[in-house]
Symmetry: C2
Subunit: 450 residues, 2 copies
């Protein structure tokens, strides 16, 4: 079928100008956020929760922390109202309780305690050891101490629930778990927590000219090593998702259709590169729309790099699927994967804020504007150096971090991505404004560790 329709369409009847309207970035992003399949949820033991998991529902504290009045310091548990400047050391309460509960502390007495010790009955304050003098001992045990400071009731004591109250919200629904949140779950003895499954995502390269980069062959003329797959796999992995390698598919409708069907058996999200532009081998949109009967939400986006970026959804084997068909140029595919696929996957993973954080930076060099809004790769200049320039006259931007761009921004030049942790969001060129001078303040998407 597809061969005949290919012949029917033929090169002579092809579109010479793209029939796809170019959506604005806002339209493209809104379309993705509304059309992406929903994420799914599961219960896991709290001890198996990992950084990057997102909570489906609020987690409440199962018990007070601490559960008892607890010493904050190494020192002596005392009665605050006791007027005596000296105290007899009548026992020891290390972290685990050893002091007989039946004997409450009396005036003139104290109990040696450690940080975390439960306060002995009768005691209502702690004096840290640094603020005491040992007056008398029998060679092995302390007998009498002197307090060097006054004592207030509750001093250096944590009452029950001081840190966390039973029933209090420990973690809100939608919390992205990090190390601190995992510590909180552990301290609270949660048995199970409900989290969103972290989406898997298939990564496929398309093109007859591609050679798998694990092959150690010389390139034949016209061949290109496929760097897009390892790059996008690493991108998705470093963002906390599970990439699946869907290989290289040659440029013909049968292979592409079969490859996409196969990939979408392993994951409901597929990211492809290549085959979306105006070339006669650019069959991806036709395969998605005509062969797989997917809905193409957009086939072009008015931005750079990545004008022909395509997003489609459909149903395969009763499962809602999404395909991001990105341009084959290494930089375009990388930037578009970051801008379109990463937020889409984050939404499936339960992120309440799936989009990149945007910070304000000043340009260190002037930049020409393109006809399209452009995402320029840049590196945040060490912001701790900024304070030394605080003698600058222009106090308006003294503290603002600056960004320098990563050289020539040609979309095939992967070197322009190296080291970049920002994507500067430049506006489209206008009659009034064709370039931004150095020092201009622009929005920057944070795409790497700062």
């Amino acid at each position: 079928m597809s061969s005949s329709s290919q012949a029917e369409n033929g090169v002579v009847h092809r579109h010479r100008v793209s029939p796809w309207p170019a959506l604005s970035m806002d339209e493209a992003i809104a379309s993705i956020q509304s059309a992406m399949p929903e994420g799914t949820c599961k219960f896991i033991p709290a001890t198996l929760a990992k950084p990057g998991h997102v909570l489906v529902s609020r987690v409440a504290a199962r018990s007070n922390v601490p559960e008892y009045h607890t010493s904050v310091k190494d020192g002596y548990a005392v009665i605050a109202a006791d007027p005596s400047p000296t105290r007899r050391v009548v026992g020891v309460q290390v972290a685990a309780p050893t002091y007989p509960e039946a004997t409450p502390l009396q005036l003139g007495e104290c109990i040696r305690v450690c940080t975390g010790s439960i306060l002995p009955p009768g005691a209502d304050a702690v004096v840290m050891v640094e603020n005491t003098v040992l007056l008398q001992h029998n060679g092995t045990e302390e007998e009498v101490i002197e307090l060097k400071i006054g004592v207030e009731k509750g001093q250096d004591v944590r009452p029950p629930g001081a840190d966390i109250r039973e029933g209090e919200t420990l973690l809100e629904a939608g919390t992205v778990l990090g190390p601190a949140e995992i510590g909180l779950l552990a301290s609270n003895a949660r048995r199970d927590v409900e989290v969103y499954r972290r989406p898997r995502v298939c990564v496929m390269s398309t093109g007859n000219e591609l050679l798998d980069c694990t092959m150690d062959e010389q390139l034949a003329p016209g061949q290109v090593r496929d760097s897009n797959r390892p790059q996008l796999m690493a991108l998705f992995q470093s963002r906390g998702f599970k990439p699946i390698d869907a290989g290289i598919i040659p440029d013909n409708r049968e292979s592409l259709g079969e490859g996409i069907r196969m990939a979408l058996r392993y994951s409901s999200v597929l990211v492809t590169t290549g085959g979306v532009s105006m070339g006669e081998k650019d069959l991806m949109k036709d395969v998605l729309e005509k062969d797989l009967r997917f809905k193409i939400h957009f086939g072009r986006v008015w931005m750079k790099p990545g004008l022909p970026a395509t997003f489609a959804t459909g149903i395969l084997d009763d499962i809602p699927c999404a395909v991001f068909a990105l341009p084959g140029n290494p930089v375009s595919s990388f930037v578009c994967a970051e801008l379109f696929a990463v937020p889409a996957l984050r939404k499936m993973a339960g992120y309440l804020k799936p989009h990149h954080t945007i910070i304000k930076v000043t340009l260190t060099n002037s930049l020409k504007l393109d006809a399209r809004p452009e995402y320029v790769r840049a590196i945040l200049r060490d912001p701790s150096a900024v304070s030394s320039s605080s003698t600058s006259d222009n106090s308006a931007t003294v503290f603002l971090p600056s960004a320098f761009t990563t050289g020539h921004q040609c979309s095939s030049r992967l070197l322009s991505m190296a080291g970049a942790n920002l994507l500067l969001r430049l506006p489209a060129r206008s009659v009034d404004c064709t370039a931004l001078p150095a020092g201009t303040v622009v929005d920057a998407l944070v795409v790497g560790a700062l």
Copy 2:
């Protein structure tokens, strides 16, 4: 031996004020950076390089990218100097070369090309399909096109080496690999690259009062669930290191000494929590110094939270080892692991900049200062919202992101870490300055995704 020395020291002869001088943060960090064991290196296949690996040496490009003159667009390869407004389509050159090399392009001719096609011999420019009109065809093949625009030599052609030149530095020594760098290595067909081994780090909790958090038992009075281990394991894992669980060790010298020896067989870096303060069960410093004959570089640091943080190095089985013995309070251990252990591990992993990035933020609320410099947990307020406040009178800080603190900063209150992506570095209190008002600009260490 250790029992007898324990008896000799006895509680009555203990220090009532810490004998350890409190180093400044700068001194502590300098001491770590000079005393940490060196990282080790290994060669790995480039295809196994992962985000977080650091290059030991510079990687040079093995070949030009592209290797040939290559079309940047879908369109027609032409002779720029050809005056004819129309061209006969004499062949097709899709990405893989099919045009016979022996027949150079002649005046009046063109060859249909795709993005990435090698330029046919004789051609020196490309006209994109959008700028052409099909004048004549035979029903299946294009025969004559008209060019709607003028042509310049080199137009839409990438010459050899345009993106990357053979021998050019692809990645500098010390580069931390991310997805883009992994793409670059793949595109360049590197067989092997030399990287630093990512350090393993053992994580141990100490204390008789601790219950393993995987146990589903009720806490006995005085018992505490050990949240430090899962928390620090998750911290190190999320920073790209390999944590090893060294369990819970009870508070006695034999167990501690044996536990540390055992852990350091698995990794040359150990992070422990608990047992470093002034309590009578705080044996860690003694065990390290007297039993294991390690050198304690510092036993206190003048900062908060984490005053008794301890760093020691020594030799076990001829291997240089380092121990970070951190306070047992969950927040202190977490902050100290971030401030001391993470940069130390990063240095071993080859990072040229092992320390946290520091940004400037304004305080949204006033903060009291402590006698010690304090690291306050805070969350960066959505910086993209800042632009909407650009009508503010105070233009000096219009663009500066702000940070709000995570509630009560008690060192046992792990909830104060939840969601934090910044550690605000507050100065120590002075006679002149006891608090910082809202709006003050402070340094903030970036400790989480922004």
